[in-house]
Symmetry: C2
């Protein structure tokens, strides 16, 4: 499904300072797989996930999705592909501050041209699915009127809005207590069983155990790639 | 040191909708203690911590700090007290986007009137203390040029800037891998042994175990208050 070949990411800080966030990463992800990317803070996980999700461009190297090189797509094609195929959960949620929770979940559906009534219905179902407390009411809170874990679950609901084939989640359980993140991981498990490809960045070994493959990063390079069960 | 009596927090959403985030919370915190506040997402932990840290006012009830009722302080006195006595780590870090990491750590010291050279020296020491990678370089990154866990550690360094007597930390380890949060908890342990009062909000039982007392919230009320060892 997705192939990375010698992908590098260098941040240029000016004045001759460069940060090598990714130092030549290569691996492939099979369709329908469940992969966890683990590693210390600063090891390059978010950078890698954003490049895989077409939210950022690699400095060099190849990213090939279903046979097409991402390099050969223009920004418009990339955005369209991303909207339909990829659901991305950001480490810091990236919710729109002046939209309500439910409007945030509807946003990807607006871009995809889903009609109003259908959007609203599906958005509310998703907020209930992720376990948002008192959803009929909290749906109309803005992000700063929600707790950290509630914002996180709204971000997850938004990522699922267009029923994407690939879900990329950056630390999706960091703000949740056990039974609440267990619920989220059960959703990911069900989606994976129905054929979706799941890639989770986490530093929580309990969350990593959900996957059948764990790729470990350190200082921008892959130091371990293990398949389990 | 700190006493809460029947503290309530109600968010008024207009149109007759009210959120009872805290429903009458009472307890006291002894000087030099190490307390963990745990509970599900949405149970009121951040709301409680912000009221304890004088960053927000209760709707009703009393908060008494070292014998003085917070009600009787005006906003200016409250701000001054907060700056000198309380170090607060926010769940979403609240770093200033257009300042560098080191400038963010210096900010509380600027308010406290610490001279420039001393501020810069202490800020760099704190960034090294919390384990920021390549600190001489990363100190000059802005928050969006840092990883999630790096931002979290900068937020912790900032909270320690004025060597406060009370440290209130809202989920301070959520973005860190094991040895990295272990390092943060060792800092808190050392500070506690030197007499500081520590209050950590967490939903991670491993982090909660660091404390000698665990207060558990559910739906805005205390459902358990246990002292361990
Ligand atoms: N500004 C606000 N306006 C309205 N409701 C709010 C506001 N801030 C928080 N709430 C609500 O108050 C309740 C408690 O929120 P709080 O942020 O204290 O929870 P929490 O225990 O810290 O959760 P988490 O673990 O997810 O951070 C939540 O149900 C939330 O929706
Ligand atoms: N915009 C940027 N400019 C410069 N350096 C950056 C930028 N974004 C990230 N970095 C650096 O690149 C490295 C990798 O960052 P990344 O966010 O991918 O780490 P991470 O593994 O996701 O960490 P965490 O677990 O803390 O979220 C870090 O050392 C960080 O300081
Ligand atoms: Mg990250
Ligand atoms: Mg909170």
């Amino acid at each position: 499904l997705l192939e990375l070949k010698n992908v590098k990411k260098i941040y240029d800080m000016g004045r001759d300072i460069q940060v090598e966030a990714l130092k030549g990463v290569s691996f492939s992800i099979e369709e329908g797989s469940y992969t966890a990317i683990m590693g210390h803070s600063g090891s390059g996980k978010s950078t890698l996930l954003q490049i895989m999700g077409c939210l950022d461009r690699a400095t060099s190297g190849d990213i090939i999705i279903k046979g097409t090189a991402v390099k050969d797509m223009n920004d418009f094609q990339l955005a369209k592909f991303r909207n339909k195929t990829i659901g991305f959960v950001f480490q810091s949620f990236n919710l729109i501050g002046n939209l309500t929770a439910i409007e945030n979940v509807e946003l990807p559906m607006i871009y995809a041209g889903v009609p109003r009534a259908e959007r609203r219905k599906r958005a509310m179902e998703l907020l209930k699915l992720v376990g948002l407390e008192e959803p009929e009411e909290r749906a109309f809170h803005r992000p700063n009127q929600l707790s950290g874990g509630q914002q996180q679950r709204v971000a997850i609901a938004r990522a699922l809005a267009n029923d994407p084939a690939v879900i990329l989640a950056d630390e999706p359980t960091g703000n949740l207590a056990t039974n609440q993140w267990r619920r989220i991981l059960d959703i990911f498990k069900r989606l994976n069983e129905s054929g979706k490809t799941i890639i989770i960045v986490t530093h929580d070994p309990l969350v990593g155990q959900e996957a059948t493959r764990i790729i470990t990063l350190e200082d921008g390079a892959i130091i371990k790639d293990e398949r389990i069960r």
